[in-house]
């Protein structure tokens, strides 16, 4: 096993408390950052905090993988669950935690070069403080086993996200209305989720997710539970940018500072999708009539609509960041389609696509952040001819773009193949046809940019500028190479996804 050295080298306290430290460390560092006298110190602390969280989540993953099908239960304040709040980490949580903390560490790494240029002489420590709060909130959502605690963490991360998006206003004032509409929509989503929790509490009398799941079989056909499912689905769907609840996303991603849109695209919707999987499969068992009807007649059509409509919208964008944002909504559609199959293979394919999509969209947004920094523009026109003046940045962009399309030998190909298999296993050939069609649309929108980058003469007046800064190129190439590596040997993420799906469906170990 790859992760054994992580576990053997970790001190005892880290192993025992990793489940809570992954949230607490960044959360406690955040107020310290607000007091930090210098920007550089704040940035170093941010990198240290996110890297520590990444280390803790690797430890968690190593513990989980030691005993297949196990779960870590951490009673906060030593109050035993279900009375106290429980942090519960199984294979699914561990996978999501590794993903978000890893992407968060890379995002904090590129924060310095992009922000220092964007906010010359201003105090960055407060912005980084908001970033760490957002990071801690997302990690909390992924680690907690308490339904209401999940809402609190979701709001901690969302409130910090609104601030981060609004910070783009220094460059483009359209970031402010984007942040405001995100605030209204996001709050409505969280409120719907709370109503759903209330209805479930009325039926079960508990807030612990494992405890609710235990009581579910006795509540088959209970109207309160069904209404709760509907509210939770809409609430988390809003946070996950499920079509047609995605209206907040394109503007928020397009006008936020570069590293923020990179971080959000790789993590924010992913965490909401994780909680959706947790609710739909671990708590509401999908083999019951009402729940399976929701999957098949609500999720699947919306997912396919997202895949086609948002891909078409992406084709007509002039701004690369908006294009990538619409593409994100379409990719959320792929993941939801995989989930809506409802089988272990489907959920596993969805989780794999969630993982690879974070890798490729993270790389794409990172490359765009680098170009915004070096060339002060993000329209397709600004990208023309950059293949010559910034070959390294653009080569990584091209690799991630090909991965997004799903070209063989990239990570995106593997996950789309798994998704296709899962659909055909279930006999959903019509969904597989939509999958291929949507991939064809992504060839068009990525192809448009790549054509401008590599085959058009430069138009940007700053064409003499060179590459993106080195601090950004290193994480960018890490992501690009990981995209290729997982396209050749997908054993690690595929294993994570299969274990995660087995944990979500309560099947024990995958193999």
């Amino acid at each position: 096993m790859i992760l054994e050295p992580v576990l053997t080298s970790a001190p005892d306290w880290a192993v025992r408390h990793a489940a809570v430290l992954v949230v607490v460390v960044p959360m406690l560092l955040a107020p310290l950052l607000a007091l930090s006298p210098s920007n550089r110190l704040a940035w170093i602390l941010t990198v240290a905090g996110t890297a520590a969280a990444f280390w803790f989540s690797l430890i968690l993953l190593a513990i989980i993988q030691e005993v297949p099908g196990s779960a870590i239960s951490y009673a906060l304040g030593n109050w035993e669950p279900p009375i106290g709040i429980e942090f519960r980490v199984d294979a699914l949580n561990a996978m999501i935690l590794v993903l978000i903390t890893g992407m968060g560490a890379l995002a904090s790494f590129i924060a310095w070069p992009t922000l220092a240029a964007e906010f010359k002489g201003e105090r960055l420590n407060l912005l980084l403080c908001a970033f760490l709060l957002c990071f801690a909130g997302l990690a909390g959502v992924a680690a907690t086993g308490d339904a209401f605690n999940l809402f609190v963490f979701l709001e901690v991360s969302s409130l910090a996200t609104y601030v981060l998006v609004a910070m783009g206003a220094g460059k483009d004032r359209r970031a402010l209305p984007a942040a405001f509409s995100y605030l209204v929509m996001g709050t409505l989503g969280a409120s719907f989720y709370v109503i759903g929790i209330g209805l479930l509490y009325a039926a079960t009398g508990t807030l612990n997710m494992a405890d609710i799941a235990e009581q579910m079989p006795g509540l088959s056909g209970n109207r309160s539970v069904q209404a709760g499912l509907a509210f939770i689905l809409v609430g988390l769907g809003l946070k996950a940018a499920m079509w047609p609840l995605h209206q907040w996303l394109p503007n928020a991603y397009a006008y936020a500072p570069g590293f923020v849109s990179m971080f959000l695209s790789a993590t924010a919707t992913k965490v909401a999708l994780y909680s959706l999987i947790r609710w739909l499969f671990t708590i509401f068992q999908p083999d019951r009539a009402f729940e399976s009807a929701v999957l098949q007649w609500v999720l699947a059509p919306l997912a396919m609509a997202a895949m086609v409509i948002c891909s078409v919208q992406a084709i007509f964008q002039t701004d690369v960041r908006r294009m990538l944002a619409y593409s994100s909504v379409a990719q959320v559609g792929y993941i939801l389609l995989a989930i809506s199959v409802g089988t272990a293979a489907g959920v596993s394919a969805g989780l794999l696509h969630l993982f690879t999509h974070a890798l490729m969209k993270g790389a794409l947004f990172m490359a765009v952040a680098g170009i915004c920094f070096a060339y002060q523009g993000s329209t397709i026109r600004d990208f023309a001819g950059l293949g010559r003046s910034a070959p390294f940045t653009m080569a990584a962009f091209a690799i991630a773009g090909l991965s997004l399309i799903g070209v063989p030998l990239t990570a995106g190909f593997i996950s789309k193949l798994q998704l296709g298999y899962a659909l055909l296993d279930q006999g959903w050939w019509w969904a597989a046809v939509v999958l291929v069609f949507a991939s064809f649309l992504s060839v068009i929108y990525i192809g448009r940019v790549l054509q401008a980058v590599f085959f058009e003469p430069p138009l940007n007046p700053r064409k003499n500028n060179k590459e993106a800064p080195l601090l950004l190129l290193i994480p960018l190439w890490i992501l690009a190479l990981v995209n290729i590596f997982y396209g050749i040997d997908a054993g690690f993420p595929a294993g994570l996804a299969a274990d995660g799906a087995a944990a979500a469906l309560g099947l024990g170990a995958a193999q």
Binding site: L159, R173, L176, F180, L183, L188, G198, T318
Partner: protein, 151 residues
């Protein structure tokens, strides 16, 4: 029939106020009105939880002493109700939800201040119109420069 509806009168009232809040949050052009609608919506969630916690003929969830005089607080029969109290957990949850609501409201107002500074208005349609104008200027600019390259 009427019994079932009237018995849940408080829920109907909560749903009505909730829908009014939701409608305002969607339809108002003025951003502050939109926030007011959002706050209304969040507040009714608190009412919903408090109603959930209600237990018929119960007191507040306060620990009363065993030797409490019968007519304490002017109420009759308080002592008999020592062990019948409404569920305190939803109340506690709503304390957290109120904090979240306050944070959201203040952040929203701060954003509105910034929007007013840079746009000079807080009407959503006017903001949208000026954004469209900027976008069209940018697109026209793009078309002009790409035309130059072709020539």
């Amino acid at each position: 029939m009427w019994d079932i509806i009237l018995e849940r009168g408080s829920y109907w009232a909560i749903i009505a106020v909730m829908m009014i809040g939701l409608y305002i949050a969607f339809s108002a052009e003025n951003l502050i009105k939109r926030l007011v609608g959002l706050s209304l919506f969040q507040t009714t969630i608190c009412l919903f939880y408090v109603k959930l916690a209600n237990v018929a003929n119960a007191t507040a969830p306060v620990l009363l002493a065993e030797d409490m005089p019968k007519d304490a607080y002017g109420g009759e029969g308080v002592a008999e109700l020592v062990h019948v109290y409404s569920n305190p957990l939803p109340h506690v949850l709503m304390l957290t939800a109120i904090v979240v609501g306050v944070a959201t409201l203040s952040l929203g107002l701060a954003l509105i201040v910034r929007i007013n500074e840079s746009y000079g208005t807080i009407e959503a349609d006017e903001i949208y119109a000026s954004d469209v104008k900027v976008q069209m200027a940018e697109d026209a600019d793009a078309a002009r420069t790409s035309g130059e390259v072709v020539r």
